[in-house]
């Protein structure tokens, strides 16, 4: 990758000097970065099979661990097994999550007192901008991890529909993350994760270009991954598994993938236009000829729906796990399934609620407000259905169940603080305030982080064949959950009082210092609790108790086969003979799975 960037730099420098022009760093980063990403994928071997196929050679799909190297090396190389790719996604997501969290903790420490303590404004701006986009990459990777690992297992398939494309989806995210990291160390950028022109087109910081390019390249991962997911779901389900007999997580993943598949392109266009405006001087967004609001429309047409990409799979995890731990059928399966689709569809019609005070035409405000408020309805259906699911159940509380309940509590905070932002008059006060920061973090933690952690604990025995440590898992939960409540509720409190988002320093006359301190302490506790989880999972890999085949008593097909899962999942496709969540119905089963060969 470094070679590619170097060649790109040299090429641009040579071309510019041949024309007698000044060196143009923006152009060099654009060309060099693209070339670097392509060469990285080439040398990693992502394109190898495709190139051979294009050359007319017949290339059988490679299965199993590499032949001449230890088995663990497959996790560090291009591998086509969906479970390997799922684990690659998930582990990368956790590493990126830790890094993004570290950035947040650094700038939260700066905000403990008013006045600048140990950062300068430039460093502060870079840190919050990088925190935003790095966390988004982490969430996309985490979603990719859950979908890749779980969907083929849950629908009784041997793999994803396009294993090579699947590997590409993962590996293309790696150079994107590297570009973001380079942007961070070469001086950073100050545009936030949104990259609004004309700040992003005028900023002299070269980090802006790395940020835009990295963000752009991540889009390829989303588009390719989601196409794969949609095709897999529609074509590879086990016999007897009608759409309304799929495990409910698959519905959430499907709705999320439909969004990713159709919306990512617009943000790609928006980012590309800024990139070329910076690199070639083509003007799209600067007056008098360009329009800065055009970018915001393109950007939010993706970036609003994408929050549903983040949360729909997570909400699917909640719906998936609750019946198992309540020992009861999922309440209103069809309503929950269709509410995911409804959220995805309505989600496309609400983007301009990010622009109520942007200066767009005033007549757009009321229709977008109405559309936005409608999102509350299917979201409410989910909450009521979850309540219906645990009502009259026989609840048990291992760590994954605790995180599911934590997710509901946190997503409830995020959900209930949303409509106040949808109604324009109240949004005119709250827009760009810390209230948004609190609301957004509550939706992301409730809709993704808590369910993701629940999923990590829940399927850890499936993926590794060993149990995690239950006491450490509970410690993680009891530290993180109250800390998160304090953090997000505190953020909303100071936002209401006048704290703006994205500021390096704040006015002590607002009377918010004590709450700022509380928020930072809570953030530190969350950080430490996540480290406890990482320690727990890593240590349990070696020393955890060997897991029984179905530790949770689940009816789902993946728990009817050995752990870790055999290379090709199911020897015979499982046959669906019942409903997925008929807990409490005597003598019923969901799937019949033929006896499988032991795991490798």
């Amino acid at each position: 990758m470094a070679v590619g960037i170097g060649i790109g730099f040299a090429f641009v420098a040579g071309l510019r000097s041949a024309q007698g022009l000044e060196p143009d760093p923006d152009l060099a980063v654009f060309i060099g970065g693209l070339l670097g990403a392509v060469l990285f994928l080439l040398f990693a071997g992502v394109f190898s099979d495709w190139l051979k196929l294009a050359g007319g050679r017949d290339v059988p799909l490679r299965h199993g661990p590499p032949e001449h190297r230890p088995a663990w090396t497959r996790y560090f190389s291009v591998d086509y097994n969906h479970k390997v790719i799922g684990i690659q996604y998930t582990v990368t997501a956790i590493i990126v999550l830790l890094f993004g969290g570290l950035l947040a903790i650094i700038f939260r420490l700066e905000l403990v007192y008013p006045g600048m303590q140990f950062l300068n404004p430039q460093q502060y701006n870079t840190l919050f901008s990088a925190h935003g986009i790095i966390m988004i990459v982490s969430i996309l990777l985490g979603v990719g991890g859950m979908i890749n690992y779980l969907v083929p297992l849950m629908i009784g398939a041997k793999d994803m529909a396009y294993p090579r494309l699947n590997a590409f989806s993962y590996w293309v995210a790696v150079p994107a993350a590297v570009l973001l990291f380079i942007g961070l160390v070469v001086g950073g950028w100050d545009t936030g994760w949104v990259g609004y022109p004309t700040l992003s087109t005028r900023s002299a910081l070269i980090g802006v270009q790395f940020f835009l390019l990295g963000f752009y390249i991540v889009g390829f991962s989303s588009i390719a991954g989601s196409i794969n997911m949609v095709v897999t779901t529609f074509t590879m389900r086990a016999p007897g598994m009608g759409l309304f007999r799929m495990p409910i997580f698959v519905w959430g993943a499907l709705a999320a993938s439909l969004i990713q598949m159709t919306a990512t392109q617009t943000v790609g266009v928006a980012l590309l236009l800024v990139l070329v405006q910076r690199a070639f001087g083509l003007n799209f967004f600067s007056p008098p000829d360009g329009d800065p609001l055009l970018y915001q429309h393109l950007f939010w047409f993706y970036s609003h729906p994408v929050v549903y990409v983040f949360v729909l799979p997570g909400l699917g995890i909640i719906s998936e796990l609750l019946p198992v731990f309540a020992r009861k059928p999922l309440f209103g399966y069809r309503w929950i399934a269709l509410s995911s689709i409804a959220i995805a569809l309505v989600g496309f019609l609400v983007w301009a609620h990010h622009m109520f005070v942007s200066g767009m035409d005033d007549s757009l405000r009321v229709p977008f407000m109405m559309a936005t408020l409608l999102v509350a309805v299917p979201t409410g259906v989910k909450f009521f259905s979850w309540v219906g699911t645990i009502w009259q159940g026989k609840l048990i509380f291992p760590t994954p169940m605790l995180f599911v309940l934590g997710a509901i509590s946190v997503f409830l905070i995020g959900g209930l603080t949303g409509p106040i932002l949808a109604t324009v008059p109240t949004d005119m006060h709250l827009h760009d305030s810390y209230w948004i920061v609190g609301h957004f973090h509550a939706t992301m933690f409730g809709g993704f982080v808590f369910p993701f952690f629940a999923a990590l604990y829940y399927w850890f025995p499936k993926a590794t064949g060993r149990m995690y440590n239950e006491s450490l898992g509970k410690l993680h939960f009891y530290l993180m959950t109250p800390a998160f409540w304090v953090m997000s509720l505190g953020q909303m409190r100071i936002g209401l009082l006048g704290m703006r988002r994205r500021i390096a320093d704040y006015d002590p006359s607002l009377g918010i210092e004590q709450t700022q301190l509380l928020i930072t302490i809570a953030g530190l506790i969350i950080g430490w609790s996540v480290l406890i989880m990482v320690y727990n999972l890593v240590a349990s890999l070696r020393s955890g108790k060997v897991a029984v085949r179905n530790p949770w008593g689940s009816r789902s097909p993946e728990w009817q086969i050995p752990s870790p899962v055999p290379e090709m999942n199911y020897d015979q496709p499982p046959v669906v003979v019942g409903d997925p969540y008929d807990y409490g119905l005597a003598d019923s089963t969901y799937v019949q799975v033929a006896p499988a060969t032991p795991g490798d």
Binding site: N125, L199, S358, L374, A376, A504, Y506
Partner: protein, 353 residues
């Protein structure tokens, strides 16, 4: 299902109690800043209605879940599953329709409130607002003698029409006490209407990330009585021709936004303070040093990046030569001859002694 009616009755009572407690806590923790504009009235009523709705819904879900956690937990030794039921279509329809009607109601109400808070009143006072990295500049088109100001002075109880535009990147005009907010765009005017109704001092805070010093893009706002406002206008309207060179320089330092980054009392800001600067020896970024004299000041204003004092960044716009020429041409038409650069240097050397 055993005792379902009894469970529901207990929960119903707890939901009512929970709603009251939640609303009490919510309004105790979540305070809005002082309301200082007419627009704040209906907006704050709306905030309160939202808090009420949040309290009821929060209590509804949380009480059901906590009750289930406590009452429906599996007892040790019990290996049975829970009650077997799949759903209830009537319930699903109810909890779709009721929220639907509620949010539509909120939406219609909000649309009316929006119309009220953006309504135009007769006798508006128009004020031009210019946002630039990282300061606010105001001017009063109805009062041509009043030059540019960096402080916004508003008469109480009169609607203000802010005609806003940015010189560079997006900014956003937000005074929390006024509640309403509007972005500023380069090359396009946006309008915000405010009717201040409480005499006092406030701050406009830029709410849209605008680069390096975004956090400090603040300006003072004074809401004053009509009489004080007229007095202030008169004070501002002293003819430039009657001012001394130093006084003119002071005016330019304000009008062109110098004092947004350079203090005259030694306060550390984005640029070096002018206190004691004249004649001092300053070390430079990249080594070397310079004696601050008229030539150095002249050069630093016209070519800010040429010789930067150590410890500072090159963030000052290099556009002042043109800005000064434009202003001088404008004043020349009214018969006033000024040399802005010379007068500014006069002022800096005066306060910098």
């Amino acid at each position: 299902m055993k005792n379902n009616g009894r469970h529901l009755a207990i929960v119903a009572v707890l939901v009512v109690i929970g709603s009251v407690v939640t609303y009490y806590l919510l309004t105790a923790i979540y305070k809005l800043p002082t309301a200082a504009s007419q627009q704040a009235g209906p907006i704050d009523t709306m905030f309160n209605a939202h808090f009420l709705a949040i309290s009821v819904l929060f209590a509804l879900i949380v009480v059901f879940i906590l009750y289930s956690i406590v009452v429906f937990r599996r007892q040790p030794g019990d290996e049975e599953d829970g009650a077997h039921f799949h759903g209830n279509a009537a319930l699903e329809i109810i909890w779709t329709i009721i929220p639907l009607v509620t949010v539509i109601g909120f939406g219609i109400w909000a649309a009316f409130v929006l119309r009220v808070v953006t309504a135009e009143e007769p006798n508006e006072l128009a004020i031009k607002v210019t946002g630039r990295q990282w300061s606010w500049i105001f001017s009063y088109p109805d009062y041509e003698d009043v030059g540019l100001t960096t402080e916004l002075v508003l008469p109480v109880d009169r609607q203000i029409r802010l005609e806003m535009e940015s010189d560079d990147v997006l900014h956003s005009f937000w005074v929390p006490e006024f509640r309403v907010k509007q972005d500023l765009l380069p090359g396009q005017m946006t309008v915000l209407r405010i009717t201040p109704n409480l005499v006092g001092e406030y701050k406009v805070r830029c709410a849209e990330i605008c680069g390096l010093d975004h956090a400090n893009m603040l300006s003072n706002i004074r809401v004053v009585s009509q009489a004080e406002f007229e007095q202030w206008l008169a004070d501002q309207s002293v003819s430039i021709g009657n001012l001394s060179l130093v006084e003119r320089g002071e005016k330019w330092a304000t009008d062109f936004g110098c004092i947004a980054c350079h203090s005259i009392d030694g306060t550390g800001m984005a640029g070096p303070t002018w206190q004691g600067i004249f004649g001092s020896e300053e070390s430079l970024e990249g080594g070397g040093s310079v004696t601050v004299d008229e030539d150095y000041l002249r050069r630093s204003i016209l070519e800010p990046g040429a010789q930067i004092v150590a410890g500072y960044q090159n963030i000052m716009p290099a556009t002042f030569e043109q800005q000064f020429a434009d202003k001088e041409a404008e004043l020349a038409q009214t018969g006033v001859d000024v040399d802005i650069l010379a007068e500014l240097i006069e002022y800096i050397s005066f306060v910098g002694q």
